[in-house]
Chain length 254, copies 2
Amino acid sequence: MNKPEPLNNIRVVLSHTTHPGNIGAAARAMKTMGLRHLYLVNPRHFPDSQATAMAAGADDILANAVVCSSVDEALRDAALTVGMTARLRDISIEVVQPRAAAPEILQYAATQPVALLFGTEMSGLTNEEVAKAQILVNIPANPEYTSLNLAAAVQLMAYELRVGVIDFSPAQVSQMLAPQAQIEGYFRHLEQTLQEIGFFTSQKPARLMQRLRRLYARTRLEEDEVNILRGILSVTTEYNARLRKRYQEEHPDV
Amino acid sequence: MNKPEPLNNIRVVLSHTTHPGNIGAAARAMKTMGLRHLYLVNPRHFPDSQATAMAAGADDILANAVVCSSVDEALRDAALTVGMTARLRDISIEVVQPRAAAPEILQYAATQPVALLFGTEMSGLTNEEVAKAQILVNIPANPEYTSLNLAAAVQLMAYELRVGVIDFSPAQVSQMLAPQAQIEGYFRHLEQTLQEIGFFTSQKPARLMQRLRRLYARTRLEEDEVNILRGILSVTTEYNARLRKRYQEEHPDV
């Protein structure tokens, strides 16, 4: 068996990039560190001559870039999503530095697709995008000037992965995580079920769902586990339906 | 005593930069990591609107940049010069990765000026520039595509220094290195002396001087040591002069 090449399983997802030059510079940054797979979610301009100019010799990365119309589309088959954030947000999901994140990212990437998700230049990741990540990574910076260029952030994270891969050895038994599309399916099922059983009456659904997302982000759900959780939801709905039916039978006048 | 701030003692020296946009991007990269001092050796265009545009909020770094007409001028008072090289050169001076170099750089920078020397975009450092460095740093990259952008290289080295400074504690006794100008003075004295005593007859002076530079680069010469070495050179010359004089007196007919 060959040594797995985790860098081949890592994609860079740039969401709603404004300046095409940054896309090209990011492609160049990726290639210098051995990353190949670029996904672009609704880029403002692409393809674009500025992107090509800034890519220098990394135009093959641009030529093979996958343009998506939503973040979900770009993450669909990713087992792990790493959100890159410049802000230390007021949330309970773990926020780590690139060096600390690299070993876990490489471990999953040895067997499964991993996405590094970068937000738009001006404002970074939206809260909705953050909620799709299992890990948040914050690059340490000068507290008086944290304005890291998008391609520079790609460069630093890619560099840590390249340095990390030198000492990398794959785990004997690797945990196979559920792809993002299944996770999203679970959250839709969960929200719908909580709605049905009347759980949301006293709680704000959006805020509660965000907390539940964080909880499951920490666990790194496997495919089997998603099936079990959805099974519980299905039974809950059925149980609830049975209860309601019996109640209606016993109280035909209500 | 306050904790020393090594980042304040570190300067970025960009030699013969072709594209002003790279100067601006380098300034931004520096500022995000807390570096402030930029030296520009014969930049092709500076000041320049492209530099300002790429600097984003780091225009104070550009405004305070020191423009020099030679590398020696930029390094004059630097106790340690770190040459950034994309090539693993066929030379015996140590070449290390940024992470390995950071602790030593910070240690010296706690008390003395340190220079990070970056060559021109197309070809990097010249051999003459390399010869002025005591440490060479090579950023690990994809062997099939090592074309790291200049500002990206600045970003990565500055990042390693910022990460390194978190765990930094200054040495109890710090070695005070001779500034670059004294080192250059010593090499001029040495070359002249070797010429005088007829050492170069069978050796190529340039190649030999390069080897001697490497030898002394490894030792990290202190000011007192430079004085001792120059004292030896002076005595050697005098001794040589005395010998010649005596020989001429004994052989008036030669």
